[in-house]
């Protein structure tokens, strides 16, 4: 397939309490580089973010339109911890590659469940080799949800294909009680499905199949 540019933000968190703060506010066990989901107290998605541990700082890479909601969510909960936040979105561009590619030293690559997330200085030219339609086709084929399509702020992570990012035993985080109850009772309501075209309720339309979020039978 190839490389596509994502509509993404890059936040830079510094301070000794960064990982603990993110861990306490999101669904996955955050001990270093990983992907996790911030949820509200009623378990609706705020954003799915890639957490990239760079040693002296942590980068959060999420979906551009959801940036301000996430910043507000996080900053409200910094209660004297050693955490500062910077917005490095304007100085970095984010790409996604469906295969591993060679990149210069000052480019960060993180292998996530949706492919290789590439964060590069905006002054650097990373060649885009895939259209959004190609990327959608790849996502449909591999059942990969995307923010703004399947992953929206009125759905919970279990319903939009992010169940693997909801840790079962990490302990409390915002929205945990509801997600744990859904799992233990087998009542997650809806799920991400890949179905043959034509699909009237598709969230992403592919050539032969589409993605949709449907109530479980």
């Amino acid at each position: 397939m190839g490389v596509v540019q994502l509509d993404a933000y890059v936040l830079v968190l510094r301070g000794r309490d960064c990982l603990a703060l993110i861990d306490g506010l999101s669904t996955n066990k955050v001990e270093g580089t990983c992907t996790t989901v911030f949820t509200t107290s009623v378990a609706k998605v705020i954003d799915m973010v890639d957490v990239i541990d760079k040693g002296d700082f942590i980068a959060l890479v999420g979906h551009g339109p959801y940036k301000n909601t996430l910043i507000e969510h996080i900053t409200q909960r910094i209660l004297g911890q050693d955490v500062t936040i910077g917005d490095a979105s304007s100085s970095n561009l984010v790409y996604l590659s469906t295969e591993e590619i060679e990149v210069p030293e000052n480019v960060t690559v993180f292998n996530s469940f949706r492919g290789w997330v590439i964060v590069a200085p905006s002054t650097m030219n990373i060649e885009v080799t895939m259209t959004i339609a190609d990327y959608d086709e790849y996502r449909v084929e591999n059942m990969i949800p995307l923010q703004g399509k399947e992953i929206t702020q009125n759905i919970h992570p279990l319903a939009c294909g992010l169940g693997d990012l909801v840790h079962e035993s990490k302990g409390c985080y915002i929205g945990q009680e509801i997600l744990a109850r859904m799992r233990s009772r087998g009542r997650q309501g809806k799920q991400l499905v890949r179905v043959s075209n034509p699909v009237v309720d598709a969230t992403t339309i592919g050539k032969t199949h589409s993605l949709a979020i449907r109530r479980m039978k």
Binding site: D23, T75, A88, V107
Partner: protein, 126 residues
């Protein structure tokens, strides 16, 4: 992403909440339990803090401490020294510290008029 581009990102403003002079109460049952926990040494203090996280957004953090490096206000209630960090005072003004004596879910409980919601175990509020 390299250090050249991340060393000077635009700072996101973290609004520090207003420090509130905390008014709190402790029920008689909680005082009894604190008495047995403190023993004769009343030089210790009960630190009532809030951590971010938990099912509803914030979690209570109760500790008996000799001292703390947090910026705290000290409240004296019938000889009990209670420390409340200024950073979380807005979330703790008006609380009642209670002790619930039951086999499941027993222990110190905080009744908080600032909480819009709380989780099942009572340790978290939002």
């Amino acid at each position: 992403m390299d250090c050249n581009t991340c060393d000077s990102p635009t700072a996101v403003v973290i609004n520090k909440p207003e420090v509130v002079e905390v008014d709190l109460t402790i029920t008689n049952k909680a005082k009894e339990m604190l008495s047995s926990a403190f023993g004769d040494d009343m030089s210790h203090a009960l630190l009532v803090g809030v951590l971010s996280g938990g099912c509803s957004g914030y979690m209570y953090d109760l500790q008996i401490v000799e001292s703390t490096d947090q910026d705290c206000q000290e409240v004296d209630i019938d000889g009990f020294k209670v420390l409340v960090p200024n950073a979380t005072s807005h979330l703790l003004d008006g609380i009642e510290i209670d002790y619930v004596d039951r086999l499941m879910g027993g222990g110190f409980k905080i009744n908080n008029p600032n909480a819009e919601s709380s989780c099942g175990c009572g340790e978290s509020f939002g």
